[in-house]
């Protein structure tokens, strides 16, 4: 494996684990706050999301290795995470106010 390929592989591993985790985190935050905003019990929402979250993570993990463009992968993972975190914390603040 030359250094170019090694760099690409490292990029994919980082994206799959850390990027995937960040997306899953944002997904859970947005999921729980949305469900609570819809009137569902907090612990129900928490449990429900924990059941879905790791399937989402698994899908993202595999997709990161299968995807053609790594730029798109990072855009979806990091961008998606940031957007969902933002909406999720906004929802939390409005639920508490």
């Amino acid at each position: 494996m030359n250094s170019q390929a090694a760099l690409q592989t490292t990029n994919r591993i980082f994206a799959a684990i850390l990027g995937g985790y960040a997306f899953t985190w944002g997904f859970s935050v947005l999921g729980i706050t949305s469900l609570v905003a819809l009137g569902i019990d907090f612990h129900e929402a928490e449990t429900g999301l924990s059941l879905i979250a790791f399937l989402v993570f698994l899908g993202l993990f595999l997709w990161t290795f299968a995807a053609k463009s790594m730029i798109r992968v990072w855009l979806v993972l990091a961008g998606g995470s940031a957007v969902m975190m933002l909406i999720g914390t906004f929802l939390q603040n409005s639920l508490l106010s």
Binding site: I32, V36, E46, T47, L62, F65, A66
Partner: protein, 565 residues
């Protein structure tokens, strides 16, 4: 980087599977042992070889025992680092909450509690203001058991499978979590790269060469138990989701969580905070009787599995009584809460919602507290199938590359093979070696548990050194003799453990099976004998020479079978 989906999935399967496979071996093997953790405890602590019994009377037996409970020194030291000033004398700390826990397989009872501390935390957000204490009780006599005796099954093998017993910064948990995710990815990618999955279900050709038969065994163990493997890796992540792997509700969503807890305390009537007014404790036995009466009314008569008390000695104190889940998959539940000072029912938990039922069913199916011995054995075989699937994966990795590596002078397959020896025979050696040490060390030895742990790591370390020392033939495309040698030692050591159990306790198999039946100990002894037989069989098989010609032919054919790398 990859030209096709199959190639990318092949890469994930091979390399992620290889790196985390060493961890997965530990998870599957020690997970399989955990199914009978309580039984291994009985083998390792002969003083507790008596029949399991239900939760004893709180008023008569347990109440005085909690007076003897003391803060755990390790937790005391850890708490001291988190608070301002030094902690008061541990003898003077007051118990603020307590619990008792038992299962249908426990002759002994686990009790514990939280001691209040007056100190302020260094970090104001740190609301963990107490020190834990834990003890094991003989419910028949009401005396505390020697805390020095390590419960090898439930306090060593069991945590091994989810934390690697590597608790610093929870690193062990995170490695296992990543391994679980990779297990899921390995299963999905495995299905994608092996297109003829239905045919592979029925294919096993042990008479073919090592590569072919390993591949068959890898596919068969992977496919036959695919739902089992997927389920365990998945629920492993779900079980620890809210506390370790994805603690969003304790971090990002902490404000929402706390808001909800206050609402819930108001709705359920279970006080979140103490009142600050002292109050006596009513009869807990009467509360237990009332809880049992209510369960019978719901047509689910049962025993108490978990009992807890909060805000001890306070006007706001309450007692929670949960039913043992030995007759169903979901865990302890049907909680009924009583006011501690009067014994009146504050709250009876309503039937579970759909989401909670699914969650409790899934986690319950992983943690298997139910009473069904055949199903428990299926769990053991399922776990061992997973271990075989991963071990054959190592063999495939090495067999496919070692001829090529021998030509280029690469040490890659040699290193992988040595690590495979360490995590296959070496790991079983470590577990059996620990049992041998347990029987050899005197019962009253100070810090016996630590010596047993040292024995465990030492045996494993020696197995690793031995595997590396004997590994040079692999670099010449031959087999590492360590496989055979460690199998032989494993066979001898397993028989040794059975013999030592007989010598030191007098519990030989004729007694534990026929004359004075005690299946917990007999089961461990019989499993050790089966382990010895398999190990001797493997050693005999590994003695047979492999012709170089056959291996070379096989390898050129394998190139066509697996094109993804």
């Amino acid at each position: 980087m990859f030209n096709s989906l199959r190639m990318s999935m092949g890469w994930v399967h091979t390399w992620m599977g290889l790196v985390l496979g060493f961890v997965l071996m530990i998870c599957f093997f020690f997970g399989a042992l955990s199914v009978f953790d309580r039984e291994i405890d009985r083998w390792a602590i002969p003083d507790t070889r008596f029949e399991p019994q239900p939760m004893p009377s709180f008023d008569k037996v347990l109440k005085p025992i909690y007076q003897q409970l003391r803060p755990d020194p390790v937790d005391l030291a850890a708490t001291e680092r988190r608070v301002i000033g030094s902690l008061p004398d541990p003898e003077t700390l007051k118990l603020e909450s307590l619990f008792a826990y038992t299962t249908h397989r426990d002759p002994v009872l686990l009790i514990g509690g939280e001691f209040a501390i007056p100190n302020q935390p260094i970090d104001p957000a740190d609301d963990h203001q107490h020190v834990h204490g834990r003890a094991t009780v003989n419910p028949a006599t009401g005396e505390l058991l020697n805390d020095d005796a390590l419960k090898i099954g439930s306090d060593w093998f069991y945590p091994m499978h989810f934390s690697l017993n590597f608790n610093w910064m929870m690193v062990g948990y995170w490695i296992v979590g990543l391994a679980a995710l990779v297990m899921l990815a390995g299963l999905v990618s495995g299905v994608i790269i092996h297109r003829k999955i239905f045919r592979e279900f029925f294919t096993f050709r042990p008479w073919k060469n090592l590569f072919r038969s390993s591949l068959d065994l890898h596919n068969m163990t992977g496919v036959v138990a695919l739902p089992f493997h997927f389920f365990f890796a998945f629920t492993a992540l779900v079980i620890f989701a809210s506390n370790i792997y994805l603690p969003v509700t304790h971090t990002t969503l902490k404000p929402l969580h706390e808001h909800h807890e206050k609402l819930e305390a108001a709705r359920t009537g279970l006080p979140h905070e103490p009142a600050g007014v002292a109050a006596p404790l009513a009869s807990v036995d009467a509360m237990v009787a009332e809880a049992k009466r209510r369960w019978s009314e719901r047509d689910m008569a049962g025993e108490v599995g978990f009992l807890s008390m909060n805000h001890l000695g306070d006007e706001n104190g309450y007692v929670s009584i949960y039913r043992a889940g030995s007759d169903r998959v979901a865990l302890v539940g049907e909680g009924i809460h009583f006011k501690a000072s009067t014994g009146e029912v504050i709250r009876e938990e309503p039937p579970r919602s759909v989401v909670s039922s699914i969650d409790e069913f899934l986690t319950g199916l992983h943690l298997q507290h139910f009473e069904h011995w055949m199903l428990r054995w299926f769990y053991v075989f399922g776990g061992l199938l997973g271990a075989i699937c991963i071990a054959t994966g190592f063999v495939l990795f090495v067999e496919k590359r070692k001829a090529g590596h021998a030509k280029t002078g690469s040490q890659g397959s040699r290193i992988v093979d040595a690590l495979a020896v360490t995590t296959v025979t070496g790991m079983v050696l470590a577990a059996v070696g620990m049992l041998v040490a347990n029987r050899l060390l005197p019962a009253d030895l100070l810090g016996k548990g630590h010596w047993e742990q040292t024995a465990f790591w030492s045996v494993w370390g020696l197995a690793f050194l031995h595997a590396v020392w004997r590994s040079s033939p692999v670099a010449k495309a031959r087999h590492n003799p360590a496989w055979r040698e460690q199998s032989l030692v494993l066979g001898l050591m397993s028989l040794c453990a059975v013999g030592l159990n007989w010598l030191t306790t007098g519990d030989h198999l004729i007694k534990t099976v026929f004359t004075d039946t005690y299946w917990a100990v007999a089961g461990v002894d019989l499993s050790l004998i089966v382990t010895a037989l398999i190990a001797f069989f493997a050693a005999a098989k590994l003695r047979a020479p492999v012709s170089e010609q056959k291996t070379d032919n096989a390898l050129s054919r394998n190139k066509q079978v697996n094109a993804y790398d």
